[in-house]
């Protein structure tokens, strides 16, 4: 059994590897964690992800800029690749599936990819449509996969307006689906105006909001089913 001391040491090492965007150390520490018999879940969430949360804060505080953020994400994935096959049962209380993409006309997908990563890490099933995605495709994919959540991203004010159309179409087809939007020009005001369920200003918030939304969605579904049963 792994000692508490060793565990803390490895978690700190994983966390720092992500913060220090050090892929080699992230890999090494992940392998070491497995070798000493640590739970992969523990290593991911209390090590890698805890590092990424710190990185998010540093990014907000403008201590880190985009390149550092991206390298941290790469370090996280380097560790995740090693740990993920050993994850036994990911239990966040809620699991869901999500359709995600950057809307038509927009090729900026860095933000979208980081949000996607958070969903990956949290054990969501992610259907990534990529960037410059035709608006109809979001609706089609949601129906095909029966996803709980659709995440739209746009980096430009000109492409942002496409999100309104997707939201309207999704609502018409499936009133229960939850929709989140994000990207540089997006604000809470825009989200309200377009009728989105959520707006997230960064990846960590996106994940938290998503979990809350899916929780409420599942509750709603249960209630409906309970009524039917009566």
């Amino acid at each position: 059994m792994v000692t508490e001391e060793k565990k803390t040491e490895l978690l700190t090492k994983l966390r720092n590897a992500v913060i220090q965007y050090d892929e080699d150390t992230a890999k090494e520490a992940s392998q070491e964690a497995l070798d000493v018999g640590m739970e992969a879940n523990d290593a991911i969430f209390n090590g890698l992800v805890s590092g990424m949360v710190e990185v998010g804060k540093m990014f907000e505080a403008q201590e880190y800029f985009v390149p550092e953020l991206l390298m941290c994400a790469d370090a996280l994935y380097a560790g995740l690749d090693i740990l993920k096959p050993h994850v036994k049962q990911l239990d966040l209380g809620v699991k869901g599936s999500v359709v995600i993409g950057t809307v038509e006309g927009d090729v900026h997908d860095i933000g979208k990819n980081i949000v996607k990563m958070m969903f990956d890490v949290a054990g969501f099933t992610v259907y990534d449509l990529g960037r410059d995605v035709p608006l109809d495709k979001f609706v089609a994919e949601q129906l095909r996969t029966d996803s709980d959540l659709v995440c739209l991203s746009a980096m430009m004010t000109t492409t942002m307006t496409g999100m309104k159309k997707v939201i309207d179409d999704l609502r018409a087809k499936n009133p229960h689906v939850k929709i989140m939007i994000g990207g540089a020009p997006v604000s809470q005001d825009v989200a309200d105006k377009y009728g989105a369920d959520g707006y997230a200003k960064d990846a960590t918030n996106a994940l938290k909001d998503a979990i809350n939304m899916i929780e409420s969605l599942k509750k709603m579904k249960d209630e409906v089913e309970a009524k039917k049963a009566k």
């Binding site: 800029f65 985009v66 390149p67 991206l70 390298m71 860095i110």
Partner: protein
């Protein structure tokens, strides 16, 4: 700090190391990393050279990080892993631009970095950083002079003969489509896209050539 960083890299296999001040040259997301450590290795481009360059980059990264600076290692052009997040930013950056800014050489008529001592035979990698390293003197003009050997020997007539200078860095030196289609033909016939005549012919850094030029004098 600059001297010890250079020494560290040279001791571990780098042929040349230069520091460039890139303020005003970098766009967008990488603009805050305005010093470049340009690393050149005088070897044929192959797997070993690439792994040496990557090792040197890691060494520079460790050195700078240990002193509390940000770093961004841009891998050699022929070793760019696709699919990582950071790889999306690599296209914002050009190794040759850093190398000329660091005074390692100029852009020759063949479109390659030419170093006085090593000719067009350096393989390059760059580490960007915000460490306030004292920059080396940049190259402002090419030193190709009237030499047209690469132009004369280019099998696809891709070399225009124009000259590079820092003031007009975007003049067309090589018709890339011509060069590329020649290499594609080579690949079809020989199985390898190798050409490299403009590298082999360049008198800079070629011992025999340099000596014969001196004799002719």
């Amino acid at each position: 700090m600059k001297t010890s960083l250079k020494k560290e890299l040279l001791d571990h296999g780098a042929t040349v190391v230069g520091i460039a001040d890139l303020r005003g040259f970098l766009g967008g997301e990488i603009a805050h990393l305005d010093r470049a450590v340009s690393i050149g290795v005088d070897r044929r481009l192959n797997e070993d050279t690439l792994s040496l360059l990557v090792k040197l980059e890691k060494r520079a990264v460790r050195f700078l990080k240990a002193r509390g600076h940000r770093t961004l290692a841009i891998p050699p052009d022929s070793d760019r892993k696709k699919g990582t997040f950071i790889s999306q930013l690599y296209s914002l950056f050009n190794h040759k631009m850093a190398a000329t800014s660091a005074g390692l050489g100029w852009i020759g008529k063949n479109g390659l970095l030419i170093s006085i001592d090593y000719g067009p035979r350096l393989s390059l990698a760059t580490v960007l950083t915000d460490a306030p390293l004292r920059p080396d003197l940049p190259m402002e003009y090419g030193l190709c002079g009237g030499c047209m050997l690469c132009r004369e020997h280019c099998p696809s007539q891709a070399i225009t003969g124009a000259e590079w200078s820092r003031a007009v860095p975007f003049v067309e030196l090589v018709k890339l489509s011509a060069c590329r289609s020649h290499k594609a033909t080579k690949r079809a016939t020989d199985g390898k896209p190798n050409c490299g005549l403009c590298i082999n012919i360049c008198p800079y850094g070629r011992k025999e050539a340099a000596e014969s030029m001196r004799v002719r004098g």
